[in-house]
Symmetry: C2
Subunit: 366 residues, 2 copies
């Protein structure tokens, strides 16, 4: 019998679907999925469930058992070849007797890069790279950013009226977007390692920053503020949800730190100049906490602060069919001198979500 065609995108698609199950749960590891295919049928499935638990390949190989011998392995990320918390996946693959390996995305980890594939090739396996690369790269974008730079992948979410306001003049932002767009945001929260707002938004809107999707993981909740005492009565610290991290310029009072800690928050003191924290320092501190992906939810000053330093990787903007007139601007505390001096982006997708429009954009790369 002729060997079945290799690699087949249908099997990689199955691996991608498995990888998505781990999204938001594996940090600081990437979400990875894998399937073992024998004689054209899936005989083993696996995904990485959480840091410290076995990698996707190992789970799939165990599931396949003896059927893995002479089989194909499809995995969304290049198998690791180093001893981390678990043994190297390359060893497990060789031991199981896998004949061919297809992976979607090269491991960006400087400790691994190309090492896994090279090891397998040297052992005589057929190795293929790049099938469904875009889908798999999307799933691992947080890990890939973080593992090479130490800072998380930053997504800035905005919910705007058609005339570009994030709240009415009274500061009221509930609700500009419709239900389907808000549901999308809860999904984004459940897939992000951490969610953040500025002190002003925390004070005014008093958000919980939890994902209300049933059974979903709760992201860490981060507030950047120079007046942390104002948070003590906020729902963030009073209601259930992910761990709260209060980031503030060094030098805040000991009593405030103690009060925050007694409510279960971590306090992250950050270097500052004249009370101003640099976005890069803030993101590096979050990266050191193992945060590989950050969802920023407001307000306008935080948006300007991140955008100005070029620290936003993706903008996700919900535009609602609504005019608010002179309300609250999406980006404030900063002004481009002219259209030519504005921050140039590139639109990467546009679609309808309920009665709203979802626009995604990324910074223009020169």
């Amino acid at each position: 019998m002729a060997a079945p065609p290799f690699p087949h995108p249908g099997f990689m698609r199955a691996a991608v679907r498995l990888a998505r199950k781990g999204l938001g749960r594996t940090s600081p590891n990437p979400a990875v999925g894998a399937v073992v295919v024998h004689a054209g049928r899936i005989v083993g499935k696996g995904y990485h469930r959480a840091a410290g638990l076995p990698h996707a390949e190992v789970v799939a190989l165990r599931h396949a058992g003896s059927a893995a011998r002479g089989a194909d392995l499809y995995v969304t990320l290049e198998p690791c070849d180093h001893h981390g918390r678990t043994g190297p996946c390359t060893a497990a693959i060789l031991e199981a007797g896998i004949a061919r390996v297809a992976y979607a995305v090269r491991d960006p980890n400087p400790k691994v890069r190309g090492g896994g594939a090279a090891r397998l090739r040297k052992a005589g396996l057929t190795v293929h790279e790049g099938l469904l690369q875009a889908e798999s790269a999307e799933i691992t974008r947080g890990f890939r950013r973080w593992v090479v730079s130490g800072v998380p992948y930053v997504t800035l979410k905005l919910a705007l009226s058609l005339d570009g306001q994030i709240a009415s003049a009274s500061g009221d932002s509930r609700w500009i977007s419709g239900e389907p767009a808000r549901l999308r945001v809860h999904r984004m929260r459940s897939e992000a390692d951490a969610v953040m707002v500025g002190g002003g938004t925390a004070r005014r809107d008093d958000p919980r920053l939890t994902s209300r999707i049933p059974g979903s993981r709760q992201p860490k909740r981060v507030v950047l503020t120079s007046r942390p005492a104002e948070l003590l009565q906020r729902r963030l610290l009073r209601e259930e949800g992910g761990e709260v991290i209060v980031a503030c310029p060094t030098g805040i009072g000991k009593r405030d730190v103690e009060a925050l800690r007694s409510l279960g928050a971590r306090v992250l003191p950050l270097p500052s100049r004249q009370g101003k924290v640099r976005a890069r320092d803030f993101l590096a501190a979050l990266g050191a906490e193992g945060v590989t992906s950050l969802l920023v939810e407001g307000g306008g000053r935080i948006a300007a602060w991140l955008a100005e330093e070029g620290s936003v990787d993706r903008y996700v903007v919900y535009v609602a069919p609504l005019l608010l007139g002179e309300g609250v601007r999406a980006v404030s505390g900063w002004a481009a001198k002219s259209p030519a001096a504005g921050k140039r982006l590139v639109f990467t997708s546009v679609r309808r979500v309920g009665s709203d429009i979802e626009i995604t954009a990324e910074p223009e790369r020169p």
Copy 2:
């Protein structure tokens, strides 16, 4: 031989294409196209070129000549049955010996409504209504609004940055949109009876408000201002283009009126209360001038003034991949008290135009 299927959308599509050629040139008449079909082939084509010239049906029938006998007529608007500047089209259709008539949209003219179709049916012709209705209604939306209400169909165009600004803090709006979006706006100008801006925009941006599409008709150029003297040095009055109409509250000085007139402008005095003109009065005055479609191009106060009175029929918004921070708001001089109190719209289309996004919206009808 069996009669060919009737009506056939392909032939109405040809009529719609012909109608579009007249767009912006026929005012206050509607743009209409017609084809005569004999034995499954188009034997006559016509469209209405300008008020005072023959209607589309008459042009197509003349073109068909004797081939019109026993033929089908496809026309985008119900044939007229009244004596206007030209004879009734129903008479010409009967005289030519047409057997079947398909029209897309009923004539909204209260003088005509249903009359043309009834006359033809009574004479024994087969008459069909509604083929490609949406496309034909789109072409005649100005006429249909104007003929029943006396006011033009109002399209408000906005060119925004992703963060909702129509200009940078310095007032500079050149260029937020890319070239393809700007070309679309020139096309919109060439298809509108009139283009308007407020006095502030005329003063600051000094626009010409011409269509730069080669060979295109030039729309009337309308400025609403209480300080008309400020326009005297503006390109609007100094450079070539469509007729200039200066609308202003009654009571402006005779010398200003004379100066404007000497530069070729029409002056339209409007009733006002405490210096404020009502949008309805302004639009009725334009309607009386035969303006059936108006493209509004700025600025933020004009947008608010029209939107507040519910006088905008369609919003066409170009969103550019750009952040401008604290610039000039799209809608100013008005503020909704809360998101629930905002002006609710419905998005009717979303598409990419070059590197920008074009969003069209209409007021939500309760």
